[in-house]
Amino acid sequence: MDIRNETKWLCENARALEKYSGQWVMFHAGQDTFQKNESLSRLLKSAPIDTAGKRPFVFHVPSKRALAETVFGTTR
């Protein structure tokens, strides 16, 4: 799995994705488009596999409020 492109794509597009807070987005890093949906299962049903056989990445866009309320770090 070549992961550099996916990370680069997310970094470059994170700002633009903020308006889809609370939704799932799906993207192929090699393409400049993405799909969005509130349901991950619906998004995955339409998931195209690109010509290199790669599956797209999915990501849940956090809302500003949720991030502000979350303290990371979990213990058993």
Partner: protein, 146 residues
């Protein structure tokens, strides 16, 4: 007799991930591929050295077809209180490094990000967070040993 050829040491793999900025704050999110049987999902997760175990969002459990009844129960303490989670063994890939990891899922608790905690992840990599350059470096430990 020719001198034996010296083996050229192979440098260890090194993954470098820039932090991702959301709503003005930076987060160490890394790309990760999850698979269970025929199901697989590529997504991102927050590397959290303060977390004992990994907890992913419930939608990911559904995408991997993990039935609720199969999940082994566990009680998880969070800043907001305790929640019940189920833990499953999932095949994961970070770059070209693949291994089995224990990941918790909960229907009562969905953090903003999928969270990668220490158990079964942090013993696979040497991990360095750099808050100045806002990058995280990961070197697979199996590469360092060889």
């Amino acid at each position: 007799m020719p001198a034996p050829k010296k083996k050229t040491p192979v440098p260890p793999k090194l993954y470098q991930f820039p932090y991702v900025r959301f709503h003005g704050k930076f987060y160490p999110l890394i790309p990760i591929a999850l698979s269970r049987g025929e199901q697989n999902v590529n997504t991102f997760a927050l590397l959290d050295s303060g977390a004992s175990i990994s907890v992913f969002r419930p939608e990911i459990a559904e995408a991997l077809s993990i039935p609720r009844r199969k999940r082994k129960g566990m009680r998880l303490g969070t800043a907001a209180g305790g929640v019940d989670i189920g833990v499953e063994k999932i095949r994961v890939e970070v770059g070209t490094t693949a291994f089995n990891a224990r990941i918790g899922f909960s229907h009562d608790f969905a953090a903003s990000f999928n969270i990668i905690g220490r158990e079964t992840f942090f013993n696979k990599f040497s991990i360095c967070f750099n808050e100045i350059s806002r990058t995280v470096l990961m070197v697979p430990l199996e590469d360092l040993r060889s």
